[in-house]
């Protein structure tokens, strides 16, 4: 349903390509992990997929329609974005934040109705944040904030969620919370997701499909258990790693062993 077709991107005409000929597809119901080292172009690729940047060449298609020709409102009804961190300039309550997810469904002067409140409360319940409804957003912990922002994305009733390093600023406990939440939403609600992340073990535990990116190019992609190999980890990070199925958790784990080049 979301497709990048030989996409390249540079921020300015005289700077090098950040994304260099990437093609990938996010299928309905998939949970795709976009992996790569710092500066590999993950975040830029996610921006291209979300349509907040327009490719220098190539196309991004949402349900077969070229993204550059769709308005933000039309895109937002089908696809939602979850940033790495959300900092608010003003104080809003949790419910207000989640209701803002309904923006693209409301007319110019329309006010949220009962249906919007129902969807917002459903989304809060699905992310385990229903009890926070009346709290001020800025008083929440990092993990709670991230779950509320995901709830807002759900309330947007979009089919696709794009998440930019959703666990990067969270501690271990919250990382597991958010990972479990994403996995549940994908399995039980059928929400399609693409996640950019550094965290190989997060990707291994929840992603069905992986896309490995280095210097703006795809070096491998496919089902997680096929793509996540020691050879690919080495090609991606210059790190020798031990990859095996962890007995207790049942998913693959990556244990870095040593750095190959300084």
């Amino acid at each position: 349903m979301l497709q990048a077709d030989n996409v390249t991107f540079r921020y300015h005409a005289d700077t090098p390509l950040v994304v260099d000929g990437v093609s990938l597809e996010v299928r309905r119901g998939d949970l795709v992990g976009i992996l790569g080292p710092n500066g590999s172009g993950k975040t830029t690729l996610l921006r291209l997929l979300s349509g907040t940047r327009v490719p220098s060449s190539g196309r991004v298609l949402l349900d077969g329609q070229e993204m550059a020709r769709l308005g933000r409102r039309e895109i937002a009804r089908r696809m939602a974005i979850v940033p790495q961190e959300t900092e608010l300039a003003f104080e809003y309550t949790v419910l207000e934040i989640v209701l803002m997810g309904r923006h693209a469904h409301l007319g110019l002067f329309e006010v949220e109705g009962p249906r919007d409140y129902t969807l917002a409360r459903d989304a809060l319940a699905a992310t385990g944040t229903g009890h926070l409804e009346t709290r001020a957003f800025h008083t929440l912990s990092g993990g709670e904030k991230q779950r509320v922002v995901i709830a807002a994305a759900l309330a947007q009733a979009a089919d696709v969620l794009l998440l930019d390093e959703p666990t990067a600023s969270l501690d271990l406990g919250y990382q597991l919370d958010v990972a479990a939440l994403l996995s549940t939403l994908n399995r039980e609600r059928g929400v399609t997701m693409a996640i950019s992340t550094h965290d190989l073990n997060l990707a291994a535990s929840i992603c069905r499909t992986l896309v490995l990116i280095r210097q703006g190019r795809v070096i491998a992609s496919g089902p997680t258990d096929e793509v996540l190999t020691p050879a690919h980890v080495r090609a991606l990070y210059d790190v020798d790693a031990d990859v095996h199925v962890h007995a207790a958790s049942g998913h693959m784990t990556v244990v870095p062993v040593r750095r190959l080049r300084p």
Binding site: S50, R72, P83, E91, E96, H103, V111
Partner: protein
């Protein structure tokens, strides 16, 4: 409580306050007047001192205060959301400095650009504010698709100090009387004395408010960052442009009318947010009404506190606003 009921309650309460202040303020002043005589049409205008005080001295002043207070408070709300910075004011982006430079050039060089019952100084200052808006917009939009709020802020701050330098330079060369007039203008004063300038400023302000009316939901989302706003369905670059131009134009018109009356654009939005929360659909109308009441009350103080001397209202708002601003800074950190 649903938004519609909250909006009704808030607009009802602030509307009642504004109405009360607007009706009461013209009846109060250093000279006591007899309202019966004011509205007694059987007395010839030339002999009716009460009516002259009411209709020439006080009413335009109260109307200007309401218009300027409402405008600066609303423009403050819009610009704070646009800049994602609660400490931004309508004057942060250099509009008032442009207006001040225009006004001062008109005073110093005795420019004669008056037209349609409006004298030279407000017209020159409005032209100055338009020039400042054009410069700041040109700089901030040259780099990327949207408006860079960082460049907006830097360009505004730089323009403010550059224009201030020009003002000081021309002041240094002007004679005593011209300098005095410029300084008085810079203090912010609502002693307008006729309805012409108010009528002239109103269309620009109304146009800006028409834009403000469609912005609030986009403003809510812009405070969460540009990418989030775009992801939620806001055409970010367009919303930013509309917000910038409408708020700047309104500020330019208000400053041309009464001078750079300080602190309204920050004190009122913050007090209102403390009372009604941050949803711009509620904040914007509430700040508009409260801004009108607040500036008229400040001007009432200015007219009566040292009666029969009338001090410029900008001094009162600064005396209230300065400490308030510091309190906000401390509270934020």
């Amino acid at each position: 409580m649903s938004l519609r009921r909250r909006l009704l309650t808030v607009v009802g309460a602030f509307g009642a306050l504004a109405l009360l202040v607007l009706v009461w303020a013209p009846t109060v002043g250093s000279t006591s007047i007899d309202l019966g005589r004011v509205f007694d049409t059987s007395i010839p205008w030339a002999d009716n001192v009460d009516a002259q005080i009411f209709f020439v001295a006080r009413l335009p002043r109260v109307m200007a205060g309401a218009l300027i207070g409402a405008t600066l408070a609303a423009a403050g709300v819009v610009l704070q959301a646009l800049m994602r910075n609660p400490l931004a004011t309508p004057f942060t982006l250099g509009v008032s400095a442009g207006a001040a430079l225009g006004a001062m050039l008109a005073i110093a060089f005795r420019l004669d650009v008056g037209t349609l019952g409006v004298s030279s100084v407000p017209i020159a200052s409005f032209i100055g504010s338009l020039a400042a808006i054009a410069i700041v917009y040109g700089l901030a939009s040259s780099q990327r698709r949207g408006l860079s709020t960082n460049v907006l802020l830097l360009a505004g701050v730089t323009l403010n100090s550059f224009f201030s330098a020009l003002i000081l330079f021309v002041q240094y060369l002007s004679d005593f009387a011209e300098s005095f007039r410029t300084v008085r203008w810079l203090m912010g004063d609502l002693d307008i004395g006729s309805y012409g300038p108010i009528l002239a400023a109103t269309p620009f302000i109304l146009a800006a408010f028409a834009v403000f009316a469609v912005l609030p939901r986009a403003l809510n989302l812009l405070t969460m960052g540009e990418d989030v706003a775009a992801g939620r369905g806001v055409e970010v670059a367009r919303a930013q442009r509309w917000a910038f131009f409408s708020a700047s134009l309104a500020t330019g018109a208000a400053v041309s009318l009464g001078g750079p009356v300080g602190f309204i654009g920050i004190v009122v939005p913050h007090l209102v947010r403390l009372m009604v929360g941050s949803d711009h659909r509620v904040v914007l109308p509430a700040a508009t009404l409260f801004g009108a009441a607040f500036l008229v009350l400040c001007d009432l103080l200015a007219r009566t506190i040292m009666a029969p001397l009338e001090i410029p209202v900008g001094i009162i708002t600064a005396l209230i606003g300065g400490p308030f601003f510091l309190w906000l800074l401390v509270r934020q950190s």
